[in-house]
Symmetry: C2
């Protein structure tokens, strides 16, 4: 079955520090999130696995894939559907060898060249960004805007998930640019009502698809 | 074949930053190091794998096992012999499931209880420390001294590798306490001559075995 990337939640443990991340994820899924990536740059391996296992159980019941940021071993330990890799992480071919043909492997890209390489190396989707300026993640990369997203969409046959600075107000522009999905952190985790925020994002993105 | 833990080099990429870690490891192995753990708390997954692959090739030629600190995925990607896990890392049973029955899995311990648990969970050896006061690694843990090492040796059937503040001047006390090996970072990587330092450590440790 094809993976639905349309509303992709990056469940960032650092961003959500001190709050109930699993509860926020539940609410976001109830609001229409179709796939979840767990990112935890500052957790130990043990705590990362523990959180991953907690999310994996809840998401599996609802048929929502869980991806793990960076750490393939945490993905294996949690029985996650796959991983999301940055340009500095374990290379895609090694990740594929370790995780097997059925795993979902995504790669962060900022240029059409990186998207083409990800495709060549066997990735399943690319996360293209930053789509808009964002403060959630420090990044020296050029903001792509809808035009930059469109160029990446045209460069690869892989689904392109736009990420960075996305909200209900600009989601439609990305749908029109050909993005297969939008990935968000703060637009859901930082909202007063995560479920409502997810519903609004989904509506905004789907309206023009 | 039983693993020889007698002179265990922790090849710490942060400690060796700016120097040729692979060259230092070569020299240390020429001086008698029997097993190498690659530790890289501040490298990205990609850089960690690259360094691991560089060491794995050189060590395999000489029959010296390479262990990877913390990251099972890096160990899998490098074809390493196994991993070394801290108390905060991925739990031993999950690591065993991911790496398989032939992998070498070591665990850091500071108490007899932790050593017994590691044994129960299927670890292959424990790294017990800090044996002496050390500045290489910040640690709030109690310094064990040779008596503390002896208590851990008596608590488990696993080989006990002592770590922390070890040099040629105090290695013999650990051999007498029953340690199966000594693990060092600065005593080799910080020495003017890594090969000579390894030779001296080995001589000091083996004299009383």
């Amino acid at each position: 079955m094809a993976t639905d990337y349309s509303l992709y939640l990056v469940a960032d443990a650092d961003y959500a520090a001190g709050r109930d991340l699993a509860g926020l994820v539940d609410a976001a899924v109830a609001g229409g999130v179709t796939i979840v990536q767990l990112r935890a740059k500052n957790l130990t391996g043990g705590a990362f696995v523990e959180l991953g296992l907690a999310l994996a159980g809840r998401l599996a019941e609802r048929g929502i894939p869980l991806l793990i940021n960076d750490r393939l071993d945490v993905a294996l330990a949690c029985g996650a559907a796959g991983v999301h890799l940055g340009q500095e992480d374990v290379p895609v071919p090694l990740a594929r060898r370790i995780l097997g043909p059925d795993a979902t492997i995504g790669v962060s890209v900022n240029t059409p060249e990186e998207a083409r390489r990800a495709e060549r190396q066997g990735a399943d989707y690319v996360g293209a960004g930053p789509a808009f300026a964002t403060t959630t993640k420090d990044s020296p990369l050029a903001v792509l805007g809808p035009d930059g997203i469109r160029i990446i969409v045209q460069a690869t046959r892989l689904p392109v998930v736009a990420i960075g600075g996305i909200g209900a107000g600009n989601a439609a522009e990305l749908a029109r640019a050909g993005a297969g999905g939008i990935a968000v952190v703060s637009a859901i985790l930082g909202a007063p009502d995560a479920r409502k925020a997810a519903e609004d994002l989904k509506k905004a993105f789907m309206r023009y698809l």
